[in-house]
Every structure is written in C-alpha cells, then in structure tokens.
C-alpha cells in the first residue's frame, strides 16, 4: 500500500525546488573562481617576497659602497662577537657517549645565550645609527 502527500501548489513548489537546485551550482562555479583568485594571490605574494629579497641584495650592495666605514666596522665587530659566542656554545656541548658523566661533573650555571644578529636586527641597528647621524646634522 502506498501513501501520497498532496501538494496544493505544485507550480510554486517546482519553481522553488528548481531555484534551490540552481543556487548550489552557481556557488560551486564561484568557489572555483575564488580558488583561482587565491592561487593567483599566493603566487603574487611569493613574487613580491622574491622582489623584496632582490631589493635587499641591491641595498646591501649600496651599503658596501657608501662611505660609512665606522658603522660598517661596528656591525662587523658585532657580527664577529656573535659568531664567537655561538662557536663557544657549540664547543661546550658534550660528546654523545659522555653525556651523563659530564653532566654530573660540570654543574656550572649556564651562560646566557646571546642570540645571533638577524637581518632585521642589523637593519634596525643601521637605521638607528643613521638617525643619530641625521640628528647631529
């Protein structure tokens, strides 16, 4: 035995049904468009990053030529110190087999580890020095 539901306004129901089927298809095509836009955006961001890296290289070239001997020497000195400190920290590391023994023997307090100078630090330092010089002019 089968049961049937009565639809009083079949025309309107059909219309609403068809329209509601149409929307997901439009949404799917739009999703593809958004995906494509996002892909383009990602590629463009990578491109811009590359351009920034190139610009940084050019600026480094400029920095070498510009007559700021004192400043360059100070930066180099700082870099050397940071490198020395890094090397010291590496030397202090115990070998694999003697890990437990050395840990017991050397219970000295750890030296504060100085972070190596990053590119941003270096640029900030250079900027500060330039500002200092500008204020003296």
């Amino acid at each position: 035995m089968s049961y049937y539901a009565k639809i009083s306004d079949p025309r309107a129901s059909r219309r609403a049904l068809l329209e509601s089927i149409k929307e997901p298809i439009v949404l799917l095509t739009q999703k593809k468009e958004i995906d494509e836009l996002r892909k383009q955006k990602r590629e463009l961001v990578l491109d811009v990053q590359e351009e920034f890296n190139d610009l940084l290289k050019i600026l480094k070239k400029l920095e070498k030529i510009l007559p700021q001997k004192e400043l360059r020497q100070q930066i180099l000195q700082q870099k050397k110190e940071a490198q020395k400190h890094k090397n010291k920290v590496v030397v202090q590391k115990p070998a694999k087999g003697t890990k437990k023994k050395t840990a017991k023997k050397t219970s000295k307090p750890k030296l504060p580890v100085q972070k190596p100078m990053t590119e941003v630090d270096r640029l900030a330092y250079t900027l500060n020095k330039i500002e200092e010089k500008l204020s003296q002019l």
Partner: protein
C-alpha cells in the same frame, strides 16, 4: 649662511651609487605595482565571498520556501 665641508667622492663610486639607486627605484616601482595587484585581488576575493554569502542566504530561503509549499 653656514659654511659646509666639501666632500669629494670617487667618480666610479658616484656612478656606481647612482646606478644602484636607479635599480632600487625600479625595484620599488615593481613592488609597488605588485602590491597594488595584490590589493585588487584581495578586493575581488572579498567581493566574491560576499556574493557567496548572499547566495547562501538566498538558498536557505528557497529551501524553506520548498519546505513550506510541501507542508501546505
């Protein structure tokens, strides 16, 4: 007027610096235009997302219309 010290720069260095500054200018122009493109893409994406949102609300109202007409 305040007297200023004269500065002499090697002509090769001077030329090199002006060349590099030219490169910097070109690069910054390229970056500027690419950032502009990026901004436009972002705007397009935002518009599409907004449109998407609108269409989803239309869809939900259509579905409730269907439900209503079926339950009459």
């Amino acid at each position: 007027m305040m007297k200023q010290d004269q500065i002499f720069v090697k002509i090769e260095d001077f030329n090199e610096v002006s060349k590099i500054l030219d490169e910097v200018k070109k690069k910054t122009d390229i970056i500027k235009s690419k950032l502009n493109d990026l901004k436009q893409l972002k705007e397009k994406e935002d518009e599409s997302l907004k449109d998407w949102e609108d269409r989803i609300s239309i869809l939900t109202s259509k579905i409730s219309e269907v439900e209503e007409s079926l339950s009459k």
